[in-house]
């Protein structure tokens, strides 16, 4: 098995799970840095691969990304850079991981968690490319609990990975909270909407801001088309995406509208 190691907590936790499941000698981590990759991401990735004893390689994505942008320059003339260019970086990484899967007959583990799968905070054919999604039913809050649990057995995840604010590192100084509410708020709203099927007004009645609740519900509903193309992952909660929560992709039902 192999996976992309980013220096963030999700890929670090996925790597620790894979190494515990299969043994370090059967797991390979690939770090694929770009210009936006912080130096501590690189340091922490190398550190973690060494701590676990897994195989590790680095493949820079700069030249691949530059070639994409150069070839698209005519097509995109007059348009500013946006999430398109961010996603191209993720897709360059996804392509490299899938090439490795082909060449060595290895399985790609994707590293996205349930909070990301719920909101669609992931790139289709990018970080969603792979065969199995170990954290698919693990919310970000549970990701931290699992990381701390694993480190209580032996310190395999560098503490800095756990402590630093989460970032996709797809543009300068980006953090997850540029696009998402704080994870404790987000996960509580997701639990209410996804796992308990609560109405928008009932989620607001739990004490959450109506504008945030509206935004989260809309994100969840719009991401159904991505989730339907996502790899499977183990069911851990009483309501997982996949075999359990099955929603239409095309739907005119807008449960957040009652809040306007």
């Amino acid at each position: 098995m192999h996976l992309g190691l980013s220096g963030g907590i999700d890929s670090a936790l996925t790597l620790a799970i894979a190494a515990d499941a299969l043994g370090a000698e059967r797991v390979h981590a690939v770090m694929m840095p770009s210009d936006y990759t912080a130096s501590i991401s690189l340091e922490d990735s190398r550190d973690m691969a060494q701590r676990l004893g897994v195989r590790y390689s680095e493949i820079a994505i700069g030249p691949i990304f530059d070639a994409f942008v150069a070839q698209l320059a005519g097509e995109f003339a007059g348009r500013a850079a946006d999430t398109t260019e961010e996603n191209l970086q993720a897709r360059a990484r996804g392509t490299l991981l899938m090439a490795r899967a082909n060449k060595f007959g290895s399985l790609v583990l994707t590293t996205g968690n349930k909070s990301e799968m719920a909101t669609g905070y992931a790139t289709l054919y990018g970080d969603m490319a792979g065969g199995f999604a170990v954290l698919k039913d693990v919310s970000k809050i549970l990701v931290y609990r699992l990381a701390n649990y694993r480190n209580s057995l032996s310190a395999v995840i560098p503490q800095r990975i756990i402590d630093r604010p989460p970032s996709a590192e797809l543009r300068p100084d980006q953090t997850d909270q540029d696009s998402l509410p704080p994870y404790d708020t987000l996960d509580a709203i997701l639990a209410a909407y996804v796992e308990r099927d609560l109405a928008a007004r009932d989620i607001v009645a739990l004490g959450y801001d109506a504008a945030i609740v509206k935004k989260v519900i809309r994100m969840v509903d719009l991401a159904e088309y991505k989730r339907r193309q996502a790899p499977p992952g183990p069911r851990i909660t009483p309501r997982n995406f996949g075999k359990d929560r099955r929603y239409p992709i095309t739907s005119k039902y807008r449960p957040e509208r009652e809040l306007s």
């Binding site: 799970i17 490795r100 290895s106 399985l107 693990v138 699992l146 183990p234 851990i236 909660t237 997982n240």
Partner: protein, 289 residues
């Protein structure tokens, strides 16, 4: 009498491999002095086999495996195995009693779960007859997994003369599932008054992960035997009348359920299973550090 619970990892579609595992468990249980071996739901074909059970060739291979197990298991051992039973009456989620070299009786699952991750009504027909047999002086009734999550089948087993309820399961893990299973077993006890032996699968299958954690509930409603979660093994229960004990440290009831640790076990078990689905060798890779 001594009853063995096979809490083992059975793989969907690996009919030959599962047959070997079931026969090995049968010989081990017999050698340990067990009179009866209970194996998980659909133990011959794995669970959930999904639409594979709609294939005639698949069901025929399972039926052939059933005959082979009946033929090759120790003759003195009574053995409960699960399989998809295809007949002129329909397609059933079935459990067979094998004894003396033959299929002695077949129980067909009544309540087919069709909610959350389950789709059994999509492929199976519902059975309606109880199945009670005697072994070592005790009358055992069969229910399969979802049968004990609703009233009906347990009472039918009681009316057919059962003293104990044997339940083969493929019950997937989610957080706090063990508590739900114990509660369901107790509600059947309230309904029918029958003590229960609950045997569960262990291992991963696509999105589902089976945690084992088989158990027995006495006529008094106590969880008297608790097998470990996430671990394969044969676990032995001594049954006398309507009381039961499980010797050994492995079978003590749990006071606290370690949720974070179990999430970890669930994730690692699923990753291990996913790795079976592919062939590869990382050592062939050129490494740059």
């Amino acid at each position: 009498m001594k009853l063995a619970v096979a809490q083992i990892n059975l793989t969907v579609g690996d009919i030959a491999g599962n047959t070997g595992r079931l026969l090995a468990a049968a010989h081990e249980a017999h050698a340990a002095g067990a009179a009866l071996l209970l194996t998980p739901e659909m133990s011959i074909c794995g669970y959930p086999a999904e639409d594979l059970v709609l294939r005639r060739d698949f069901c025929e291979a399972c039926a052939a495996a059933l005959e082979k197990i009946a033929d090759e298991a120790p003759r003195e051992l009574a053995l409960i195995v699960g399989y998809p039973e295809r007949t002129d009456d329909g397609l059933f989620n079935a459990a067979a009693l094998l004894r003396g070299g033959r299929v002695e009786a077949v129980y067909r699952k009544h309540h087919l779960p069709n909610h959350s991750v389950f789709d059994e009504q999509r492929v199976f027909d519902s059975g309606d007859a109880p199945c009670v047999f005697s072994c070592g002086g005790v009358n055992f009734g069969l229910n399969i997994c979802g049968d004990i999550w609703e009233p009906g089948p347990a009472t039918r087993a009681l009316e057919a003369g059962a003293d104990w309820l044997l339940v083969p399961n493929a019950s997937p893990f989610h957080l706090n599932k063990e508590r739900e299973r114990h509660a369901v077993a107790r509600s059947r006890l309230v309904e029918a008054g029958l003590p229960i032996v609950y045997a569960n699968l262990v291992g991963g299958q696509d999105e589902l992960v089976f945690d084992g954690a088989s158990f027995a509930v006495s006529a008094g409603g106590e969880v008297v035997v608790q097998c470990p979660a996430w671990r394969e093994g044969l676990f032995y229960l001594d049954i006398a009348g309507n009381s039961c004990s499980g010797p050994g440290m492995a079978c003590r009831p749990r006071r606290r359920r370690p949720t974070t640790r179990w999430c970890w076990r669930c994730a690692t078990m699923s990753a291990r299973t996913a790795s079976r689905g592919c062939t590869w060798d990382c050592r062939a890779a050129s490494i740059r550090r």
